[in-house]
């Protein structure tokens, strides 16, 4: 935990100063998660504000400070999900983008060149966004939390409130869908290159 449980308790009891400290401790991490979940830097702060607004008005429902982090992740997931549903893009349009970015994807897959070039980073972001846009919001969020955020199955279990086996099945299916798209786009690239 990034803060002491007592601080959470004080914030839950209505101490605005304590709430401020909690937000300041977690906002960078939460904004990072949101950035990777939604893939649009310009809207990250707005979604982050929504997360902390929901936190403020639901903190009194928190059972104990020990479950604060999964609780905060759940609020983050819900806010990101709402955002993605509101800003849903047509998959066919995104698939077109995807085929244009195969060279970059091959670079990332090779992993040999890890330059810090902003343009390259931007393209990697666009590639992953394009891949993720082609699957459902649920798959996108679950995969991002597991594969990109690096949450363990135990942590995901607490966030989602479902058992590990159900999560494994969902993760496997989501991964297969994205993998299929990844392969299809790779084939398209090699086909186009010939």
């Amino acid at each position: 935990m990034l803060v002491e449980p007592e601080l959470i308790t004080r914030a839950r009891e209505g101490d605005d100063g304590a709430f401020n400290q909690v937000v300041q401790a977690y906002r960078k991490r939460i904004l990072g998660t949101i950035a990777r979940l939604i893939g649009r830097p310009e809207d990250v702060e707005d979604v982050g504000q929504e997360v902390f607004l929901r936190l403020y008005y639901s903190l009194d429902q928190l059972r104990s400070p020990e479950v604060f982090e999964p609780w905060l992740y759940r609020l983050t997931v819900n806010s990101a999900y709402d955002y993605l549903r509101r800003h849903r893009r047509r998959p066919e349009a995104r698939m077109a983008d995807l085929s244009e970015q195969q060279v970059i994807m091959a670079d990332a897959a090779a992993g040999a060149r890890k330059d810090q070039d902003d343009q390259r980073r931007g393209r990697i972001r666009d590639t992953v966004s394009a891949l993720m846009s082609a699957v459902s919001e649920q798959d996108r969020i679950l995969l991002t939390l597991k594969e990109i955020e690096g949450l363990s199955l135990k942590e995901l279990e607490k966030v989602y409130g479902v058992n590990e086996n159900a999560l494994k099945v969902r993760l496997f299916r989501a991964r297969q869908r994205v993998l299929k798209l990844f392969e299809a786009s790779a084939h398209k690239t090699t086909g186009a290159g010939v």
Binding site: N20, V23, Q24, R27, K28, R29, L31, G32, A35, R36, P41, V44, E45, G48, Q49, F52, L53, Y56, Y57, M105, A108, A109, A110, G111, K114, R120, R121, G122, I124, R125, T127, V128, L131, E147, I148, G150, V178, L179, F182, E183, A186
Partner: protein, 109 residues
Amino acid sequence: MSQDRNASADGLETLFAAYREACPDPEAGGDFMPRLWQKIEARRAFSYSLKRLARGVITAAAAAALVMALLLAPQHRVTPSYLELLAAGQSHDNIADTEIVQSSYENPR
């Protein structure tokens, strides 16, 4: 085929790792906290006015119920049942009888 699959899975994993690096945790803008508190206050004000409105509606409903009760209650009282009417008529007769008996006793002919 299986080798291709594994290569693709590895490629996807690498892409995700590259994405993680390409999207570092951003710093919040300087107005993040003030904007958040503005939103909290706005929602608090909204829920306060909603509570006031709800309380007003409840008070008005209670007042209306009271007025209705007052208006309807006398009407209910002036429509006695058949038995009540009968009982009232009988007691009236008794009084009349008593008066007749009394008057004939007081003024014997």
